[in-house]
């Protein structure tokens, strides 16, 4: 559905995109993950035709972005990072306008609007002006306004930034529904939970480069990081620590009073480890299982935290 090859975009001295390539199959939920300034918005802007890349090619729904921008535009919907609505108009009028500019026939548009409003739980408030809406409600309308022409691809640039839990859950429900309907979604975020929850394909972007790409499982594998058990003791003598060490057959290390034990079978190893520690008379105060997630993958790839 989307094929991106070697995108480069420079803003003066800053290289925002430094040769990005990826491919997204139809119906996939693609997460573009990266810290602030990584180039997520720049990528989305290029894919959504409003920013010209310095070089590289993009194909959307079989159309070349350079040669056939109009066809590309009709196949995409864009949810911007900022809320872009007419505050003085009602939600209904906004939706009528944003759907109208894609030439959706009026009667059809009205049906779609009432569907979408009930989906987002805003039917009752539809004739209120946007300026009277809460931030979360505005976000919902902002998303709705990008879907009225039934695009094949939906670009979403951090749609949940600054959204209250209630709206966030509604947005998630809609996302899941859209995903089920087979719409291809490109989603940028720096919340890993969201990416882990929805995305069947994840690209990690940093400093304008895709540094890893694949399914969550693939990323976990390729990152080469193992899950670990961290056992913290109230007090442990060097002697006891050494003794415990002799019984362990996997990779481990002590940092202060904490033992980190790396393993691929955490569950079975956990019991053994506890028994071992008890046998040696070590007084356990806390046990923590450290799973591999996008955060740790990102950390191991870049040495940086994903979130500031």
């Amino acid at each position: 559905m989307i094929k991106v090859e070697n995108l480069v975009k420079k803003y003066g001295e800053t290289t925002a995109l430094d040769g990005i390539s990826f491919e997204i199959k139809e119906g996939k939920f693609f997460g573009l993950l990266g810290p602030n300034g990584a180039g997520k918005t720049t990528t989305i802007s290029i894919l959504s035709t409003i920013l010209r890349p310095d070089s590289g090619t993009v194909r959307i729904a079989g159309f070349d972005l350079q040669k056939d921008p109009d066809q590309c535009k009709r196949n995409i919907g864009v949810v911007t990072q900022e809320i872009a609505l007419y505050n003085k108009l009602s939600a209904f009028d906004n939706l009528m306008f944003w759907g109208g500019i894609y030439d959706v026939p009026k009667a059809e548009l009205k049906t779609r609007i009432s569907e979408i409003l009930s989906l987002f739980g805003l039917t009752e408030r539809q004739h209120d002006k946007i300026e009277a809406y809460s931030g979360g409600m505005k976000r919902r309308i902002n998303i709705a306004s990008a879907m009225l022409h039934r695009p094949k691809v939906l670009f979403m640039d951090e749609p949940t930034v600054g959204v209250d839990p209630q709206s966030r859950n509604l947005i998630f429900e809609v996302l899941e529904k859209l995903h089920k309907e087979g719409i291809t979604i490109v989603y940028t975020t720096h919340y890993m939970e969201e990416a882990e929850r929805f995305c069947d394909q994840i690209g990690i972007i940093d400093k304008g480069k895709i540094i890893a790409e694949g399914t969550l499982a693939e990323l976990k594998k390729s990152g080469g990081i193992k899950e670990s058990i961290a056992v913290t003791f109230n007090e442990i003598s060097e002697e006891v620590a050494k003794k415990i060490g002799t019984f362990l057959d996997g990779e481990f290390k002590f940092t202060g009073n904490t033992l980190h034990y790396y393993s691929n079978q955490i569950k079975s190893d956990l019991g053994k480890l506890i028994v071992l520690c008890n046998d040696q008379g070590a007084d356990i105060s806390n046990i923590e299982i450290q799973k591999v997630n996008l955060e740790t993958i990102f950390l191991s790839l870049t040495g940086k935290q994903l979130r500031d």
Binding site: T49, I50, L51, V78, Y86, F97, D103
Partner: protein, 407 residues
């Protein structure tokens, strides 16, 4: 395109401030200006300009001419001898004296230069300007043939060798423009019937000045506001969102132009309706002319608003620039005061303003009583369209160039 226009109109209506600025504020302003220019109500209320008349010719022609001048609502005539007149004007007791020298009737008959002279007090240029506007217009109507124009100018120069050149130029212009605008009748119709005179006099130039001047100025302000909506869209991200859609930048700008034109035309219409209802400006007498002027003025003014928005970066800048440009243009273009009371160099500058062409066009309709087919009137309408075309073209060019930078 039309969707954009409709949406903009909805937004315009939803915004109370812009509605008030566009449709309510101009009304007290028109009222205020028409009070200032003494143009309230019909001719009988008009403040009359005093004028001393000396008839040295004592002919039937001059008598009739004086009589007709006397019937003008703008003038209050005093008859004296030449000596007394000179004395009065020199001592500053009267502003000006109109002298019909001996042989006026004969010259008129023979088509020679007319021995007619206006002696005036140099210190009273403003009054002179107004007086000359009234006089030259009417005299030309009364004795006007096209060919008289040159003669009148030459004569004027001969009679007033000491006049400073700036003032002289102004007089020439005045005479020329009034000749150009005068009915191009043959000599046989040299003296117009008094009915035509009274038709012309029914409305005071002050009222036209107030209505047209204020209307154009306020229009410029409100279209600048509408143009600023383009920048608002830029700032609020909706312009970017529009560009995601199949709409082209051209579509978006055209939509804006359409809505700006509709608002502008509505505003002008409301102001003229108000002037009709409140001050008795007879807008019905030349409806096609009025419509043409409204369309032309709206087009030129909205072009100004759109152009402004297309190259200015922020809304704050628009506000500052609008105030500066509109006030300047209104001042030199005659929205604040009639152009003829302004220094000559400013009168020359006036042609660069939208206001000038528009106000002159409205003068054509309501004061000079020109038909819609009159070449002068059509020229002014044409100028407005030309200005609008140039401004809009610049806007399209600038907008295309700048719009891709917003992402």
């Amino acid at each position: 395109m039309f969707r954009i226009a409709i949406k903009d109109l909805k937004l315009f209506v939803a915004e109370k401030r812009s509605m008030i600025l566009t449709f309510i504020v101009p009304i007290p302003l028109i009222t205020l200006f028409s009070l200032a220019f003494g143009g309230m109500g019909k001719s009988s209320d008009v403040r009359k300009l005093p004028l001393v008349v000396c008839d040295e010719d004592h002919s039937i022609s001059t008598k009739r001419l004086v009589q007709q001048l006397d019937s003008l609502p703008q003038l209050r005539l005093f008859h004296t001898s030449l000596d007394t007149a000179n004395d009065l004007v020199q001592k500053g007791k009267e502003d000006a004296a109109l002298v019909f020298h001996k042989g006026f009737a004969d010259s008129l008959e023979e088509g020679k230069n007319l021995p007619i002279e206006l002696r005036y007090d140099k210190a009273k240029e403003v009054q002179m300007g107004m007086l000359m506007a009234v006089l030259s217009g009417n005299l030309m109507h009364l004795v006007g043939t096209k060919s008289l124009e040159r003669k009148a100018i030459v004569r004027f120069d001969q009679q007033n060798p000491g006049m400073d050149s700036a003032m002289k130029k102004g007089v020439h212009q005045m005479i020329a423009s009034n000749f150009g605008g005068g009915t191009s009748t043959g000599k046989s119709e040299a003296i117009l019937t008094s009915t035509a005179l009274s038709a012309q006099a029914e409305v005071s130039p002050g009222l036209i000045q107030a209505v047209a001047g204020t209307a154009v100025m306020m229009l410029l302000f409100s279209v600048a506001g509408l143009g600023a909506s383009l920048l608002q869209e830029k700032e609020e991200g909706t312009l970017k969102k529009l560009l995601f859609s199949p709409l082209t930048p051209g579509n978006i700008l055209f939509g804006k132009m359409i809505s700006a034109n509709i608002v502008a035309m509505t505003q002008l219409l409301i102001m003229f309706l108000f002037s009709w209802l409140a001050f008795g400006l007879d807008i019905k007498q030349n409806i096609p002319g009025l419509i043409l002027m409204i369309i032309a003025t709206a087009f030129a003014c909205s072009g100004f608003g759109i152009m402004l928005a297309s190259f200015v970066k922020t809304r704050a800048q628009v506000q500052g620039l609008t105030t500066l440009i509109v006030l300047t243009m209104s001042a030199i273009g005659g929205s604040m005061m009639p152009t003829f009371v302004m220094p000559i160099w400013m009168q020359h500058m006036a042609v660069f303003s939208v206001n000038y062409w528009s106000i002159q066009g409205f003068y054509d309709i309501y004061w000079r009583l020109k038909p819609i087919s009159d070449p002068d009137f059509l020229m002014r309408v044409g100028m407005l369209f030309l200005i609008g075309l140039v401004l809009n073209t610049i806007a399209i060019f600038m907008f295309r160039r700048n719009i891709l930078k917003i992402a």
